[in-house]
């Protein structure tokens, strides 16, 4: 009896092992092995479930459709859920917990994924096919991949940069009148100078971006951050709820200038608003949001093809329409502007800092000082 049970057990293990071995190549081959195979599979997959708000803005989606057809010869059916970061990652992670994967291509902050093995395990390695298959074929893809930080790879590629700087209304002030460095603020100059009293804006969620991120890598200590915030607040800024509202306040002329995320400013300028940006010469804090492909996506090849399309053709299109450039794209105005400021230090939170709670601690300490 014992011998029979042992044999049965052995047979079951053998069968399972054989099945697992047979399944492994299939598991490994979520994406086609060649460009042609990916293209072929993508056409068959048909529908892409995309979680990203940008294609819904200012006709970006329609331009994407035309450019995609020109590049690949077919038009995929894109089901767009214009969910914004960071709600997208919260929703996605919760859905995954109950066994649902509703996205093929997901817009999410890499910093909310990296550093957490349990979350990383939910995403496909997109770096390997992008590097091996798409980089040799598409210069834009290649250029971007070279600039994506190692800790974001292989799961995420940046498509949005939240870059800090100054925004100003060209009818109310000029670039020359604006501060040059952020360090001046600590000395009672720049927006902490009484001549700017009541005539500049900051956002409260940041708060006062880039101030909250000046702690990155120990660049400023918390006391210095607090001191600058107090100086800024004493100069009666107009405090807006988000960087979007800050942009709007400057565009409409409610105040002459502001500090904050400069993304989206160019779009307003192209619409005709008298608005411009200026970068600090000493510092630029950045936050990146990328696109990722979740494991269990129904259309992984279409998602990969679409991602490659976004990197090659999409990002320049977005910059042309919305004016939003991506820091990692060497073709973008943002990347070119940074080259003209060799002394500028780029600060970005690392996953280690975030997991250790450093980012939240700094923000909480500054938020406590906000009115």
């Amino acid at each position: 009896m014992k011998t029979n049970d042992g044999k049965k057990c052995f047979a079951v293990v053998l069968c399972l092992g054989t099945l697992l071995l047979a399944a492994m190549p299939a598991l490994a081959q979520v994406f086609g092995k060649t460009y042609e195979e990916i293209l072929d599979r993508a056409k068959k997959e048909g529908e892409l479930r995309l979680w990203w708000e940008v294609p819904g803005e200012r006709g970006v989606g329609e331009q994407f459709e035309a450019a995609f057809k020109k590049r690949f010869g077919f038009v995929p059916r894109v089901s767009l859920t214009p969910v914004t970061n960071p709600d997208s990652i919260l929703r996605f992670l919760t859905e995954v917990k109950v066994g649902r994967v509703e996205a093929d291509l997901l817009y999410a902050g890499a910093s909310d994924i990296a550093g957490r093995p349990d979350r990383l395990a939910l995403f496909e390695d997109i770096d390997t096919p992008l590097v091996k298959i798409f980089s040799p074929k598409f210069k834009g893809v290649d250029g971007i991949l070279k600039n994506v930080a190692a800790w974001k790879r292989p799961y995420s590629v940046d498509v949005t940069t939240l870059a800090s700087g100054m925004i100003y209304n060209t009818k109310r002030t000029t670039a020359d009148q604006l501060p040059r460095t952020y360090a001046e603020f600590a000395e009672g100059k720049g927006f902490t100078d009484p001549k700017w009293k009541g005539n500049f804006a900051i956002n409260t969620i940041g708060p006062a971006s880039p101030l909250a991120d000046m702690a990155i890598g120990g660049h400023w200590d918390i006391e210095k951050q607090k001191k600058v915030l107090q100086l800024l607040l004493a100069n009666k800024p107009l405090i807006k709820r988000s960087s979007g509202d800050v942009r709007m306040a400057v565009a409409l002329g409610e105040v002459a200038a502001a500090t904050g995320n400069i993304g989206g400013t160019e779009g307003l300028r192209k619409e005709g608003y008298p608005i411009q940006t200026k970068l600090f010469e000493d510092i630029m804090t950045v936050g990146s949001i990328g696109l990722t492909i979740p494991k269990g996506a129904k259309s992984p090849n279409l998602a990969l093809l679409y991602l490659a399309f976004i990197l090659e053709d999409g990002l320049p299109l977005i910059e042309r329409i919305n004016g939003e450039g991506t820091f990692v794209d060497p073709r973008s105005q943002l990347a070119k502007a940074l080259k003209t400021m060799p002394k500028a230090k780029i600060l970005e939170w690392t996953p280690e800092d975030i997991v250790a709670g450093q980012r939240d601690k700094t923000r909480k300490a500054l938020q406590a000082l906000m009115p």
Binding site: E57, G59, G61, V83, E102, G109, S209, M248, G253, P371
Partner: protein, 539 residues
């Protein structure tokens, strides 16, 4: 789900394991909590007094007096309900911001004032109270007008016949009879004011005034990083306890409900109070209030007509075009959302009113007060927490991502208001009306259909209109529960607002208003037909 979420450790995801009281600790141990509570009390009390006073006065004038253009006033009172609060607050900023406001510009020009800003400043506590109070007064009007309409004037006439003067009648007869309705409104708006934050964010934050809802929102949100919804849920738990306490007080005060029945088996013909020469003063007052509703909407309409916003002027007229409207209507997201919005708008308000009617009727006429408590419980839950709870519940079911999850969300969210409106109206119906129907052999269903529903139709119409407008202007559920399959117009508007596409958002907001005007007129037509049938004079 609310309690469970509130007990999650601060950095945990909703379905993560672990329990902690840290979220409650964060709320109560905040060093500036006292200032925040004082600000909240001043803001809440100020806006409550302003909204209820304006709502009650105008409801009285429209329903019980011979003020001219009553039907037009009624419709005008409701039109601004369709516009999302965030857009209305933006409209006020365009009017009264010290540096940008058009009214300030006109005042400076008109009075030759020096300087490039002021004299008025919207970013103050007074500004917040004014904008919120005005914004909620039409909600109060909706809640209170059926109470005035159903009041049997015989009670007041009896008091006058026995020699009581106007103010005495008001103090000793009218106000006590309105007590349940007024209490309902007071409790409802009190709770609403503690948790609303759009105006406080748009106007209070720039002015350095922080109230409780904004305080929690700012602790919860960051520009990147996962939002701390556990904290928002803990806030919801505190609000819920407050709401339940207030409801207990309400039930205690209205425990002898027959005292408040003003519609009895004896027929009555509501008589209008003749205002005489006061008619024009009252009319002017109402016009000023309506102008306050209209101004932010008109400036938004102006913003929708110019590609790049500039203050209204004769020179700017050359820039006017319908370009934003064509562009917005050609947007595939807007088009795609329209069909879903139609489904949502047809089903959600209707079901909300139906369920609210059942809950109110069971509570008032069958003494099952717990049903009403259950129906109004969502009042204490911030909509973002309710959205999260619904997401967590339905993510495990096939309806997740469908339009039905939005329908359910709106029904739950609108039950408190509609239940309050209908309970107040049902309290005014004496039990002898239904008893008489039963004596003649009518079933309960027939009694409801032929007696109860026709008598409270004004309240049903108002409840439906409010639920309709609230569904139309909601952003929270539309965004939080959004998928490609259930996108609705508010989600499309949110995308435009975030771009930011100022003229496109304003165009969509203006189209909302126009659509709501038609719906209000249609609802008013139904209401008037019923009133004519019942022998009311129609203005």
């Amino acid at each position: 789900m609310l309690f469970l979420t509130s007990l999650r450790p601060p950095s945990a995801l909703p379905l993560d394991p672990g329990m902690s009281l840290d979220n409650f600790d964060t709320i109560f141990s905040s060093p500036r909590m006292l200032t925040v509570l004082v600000n909240t009390a001043i803001y809440g009390a100020g806006a409550l007094i302003l909204s209820l006073t304006l709502g009650a006065i105008i409801a009285f004038l429209v329903e019980r007096t011979d003020i001219p253009f009553r039907s037009t006033i009624y419709s005008a009172m409701l039109v601004s309900l369709a516009v999302p609060t965030m857009l209305k607050a933006f409209g006020w900023v365009l009017l009264l911001s010290p540096g940008l406001g058009w009214i300030n510009y006109l005042l400076r020009q008109g009075f030759g004032l020096e300087g490039a800003s002021g004299p008025l400043n919207i970013y103050t506590m007074t500004g917040m109270i004014f904008v919120t109070g005005i914004g909620l007064s039409n909600n109060a009007f909706l809640m209170l007008s059926p109470l005035f309409r159903q009041m049997n004037p015989e009670f007041e006439e009896a008091a006058q016949t026995s020699g009581s003067k106007g103010l005495t009648v008001l103090r000793k007869v009218t106000l006590p009879l309105l007590l349940p309705g007024l209490l309902s409104a007071l409790i409802y708006f009190g709770m609403v004011l503690v948790q609303v934050m759009e105006t406080a964010l748009a106007i209070g934050v720039p002015g350095g005034i922080r109230v409780l809802s904004v305080h929690i929102y700012l602790l919860t949100k960051a520009e990147d990083g996962i939002p701390l919804y556990g904290l928002a849920a803990a806030f919801g738990v505190v609000l819920l306890l407050l709401a339940l306490s207030l409801m207990t007080v309400y039930f205690w005060l209205t425990r002898q409900q027959d005292r408040f029945s003003v519609v009895t088996g004896k027929s009555f013909r509501p008589r209008q109070l003749k205002l005489g020469r006061w008619k024009y003063i009252a009319f002017s007052f109402v016009m000023i209030v309506i102008a306050c509703y209209a101004m932010p909407m008109l400036i938004l309409a102006w913003a929708s007509l110019v590609k790049v916003y500039q203050a209204p002027s004769f020179e700017a007229l050359s820039q006017v075009s319908l370009h934003s409207y064509f562009r917005t209507l050609a947007n595939p997201q807007v088009q795609q959302s329209a069909a879903n919005t139609l489904t949502l708008m047809v089903i959600a308000p209707m079901l909300a009113v139906f369920i609210a009617f059942c809950a109110s009727w069971l509570s008032i006429k069958r003494k099952m007060r717990w049903v009403e408590v259950f129906a109004i419980t969502p009042m204490g839950v911030p909509s973002v927490v309710l959205a999260l709870a619904l997401f967590l519940i339905y993510v495990m079911t096939p309806i997740h991502g469908s339009i039905w999850v939005l329908i359910i969300a709106h029904i739950i969210a609108h039950l408190p208001f509609t239940t309050r409106v209908l309970s107040a109206a049902l309290l005014q119906l004496h039990k002898e009306l239904e008893e008489a129907a039963h004596v003649t052999g009518a079933t309960t269903a027939r009694t409801l259909r032929t007696v109860t529903v026709p008598l409270i139709l004004p309240a049903l119409v108002n409840g439906w209109l409010w639920a309709f407008s609230a569904t139309l202007r909601d952003f929270t559920f539309a965004i939080f529960l959004m998928t490609s399959r259930n996108m609705v117009l508010p989600s499309a508007m949110w995308v435009l607002w975030n771009v930011p596409d100022i003229s496109g958002t304003a165009a969509l907001g203006t189209l909302y208003m126009c659509g709501f005007v038609f719906v209000t007129i249609a609802a008013r037509y139904v209401d008037q037909r019923q009133r004519k049938r019942a022998g009311w004079e129609v203005g």
